[in-house]
Symmetry: C2
Subunit: 188 residues, 2 copies
């Protein structure tokens, strides 16, 4: 089982991942980017803006993804892998190339290994504005509300396009309600 | 003008590049991988075997290539750029995926910017055996004669497939003869 938790920043992924860690001691918890040794370096290079070219930056994330799938997901997915982000964020954030190109690049990186369960924590624009007001902005968040809502739309499109087993969950529900929905979905 | 010097190890690229550096003080000399700051890091990560996944390793080289094209080749090709290796080596060495896939990935990395002049220093198998006998083997060379001859074939196929303006030069000619051929080709 390969479960991924997706959502734009402030959607509440970390909170739900903490709850999952308590409940699923048997699972391998991981993340993209940065779920491997080389992935940590690549993530840092990308965050530092070391790649001036946007295409080069995308290839850094694809290298991270390829290594993560090969070294973490494939060896563990016969039991349970739970990942903070995945190919879905990868596709959603790479908006500098046509969608079909980005999708094929990502399928090469993942060797066609796809999540068995996608949880997407979904925010309305109003709720996003409220939450961003309560949090110090990082570089992605500072690109603005419209940008993040657009990314969220791309995430949803990606899930549907790849025909993935998914649950879109209203992120404004209580922490407990969301946790319950996720648990039901995983145990279905 | 975007000139690239290609050839397998021991073909004599460095010697010819040294001669070109003497003759063309106006040119920007560069290389792949490692022609940019981030490229140097990525090259080192690849050489150290930090990417366990072969696909991840390929993406490291693609990131290097994308950055190199954007930061070094594009800004200078209206004058003269001379590069030690290029997309041709990139395609020839990536033998873990179908050729047409590797070609499209590399064209994305180079944003379709291709060399205006390709010099390929070509070795016969006999000459390669002789030269390797005289040199300490590095990791690529130790993979053997057949491997290197196969890479050289892939380089030639790539040049033809991309329909690049090229000169295949017999690497067993004297250093001066080769230098003269290269000079003629560049000045054509």
């Amino acid at each position: 089982m390969y479960v991924v938790i997706e959502g734009i920043d402030t959607a509440g992924k970390s909170t739900q991942l903490d709850i999952l860690k308590e409940k699923h001691k048997e699972a391998v918890f991981t993340k993209e980017p940065g779920g491997t040794q080389i992935g940590l370096k690549l993530r840092q290079m990308a965050l530092n803006g070391e790649a001036k070219s946007k295409i080069a930056e995308m290839f850094l994330f694809l290298a991270d993804r390829a290594e993560h799938i090969e070294e973490v997901v494939k060896p563990n997915k016969s039991s349970i892998v739970i990942s903070d982000r995945s190919i879905i964020s990868g596709i959603a954030y790479a908006s500098n190339l046509p969608l079909e190109v980005v999708v094929s690049l990502n399928l090469i990186a993942t060797d066609n290994v796809l999540p068995s369960h996608v949880v997407l924590l979904e925010l309305t624009k109003e709720e996003l504005i409220r939450r961003l007001g309560n949090k110090e902005n990082d570089s992605i968040e500072s690109r603005g509300i419209e940008y993040l809502i657009d990314i969220q739309d791309r995430m949803k499109k990606t899930v549907k396009m790849l025909n993935l087993n998914h649950r879109f969950i209203d992120a404004s529900l209580s922490i407990e309600e969301i946790a319950k929905e996720i648990e039901e979905f995983i145990n279905e």
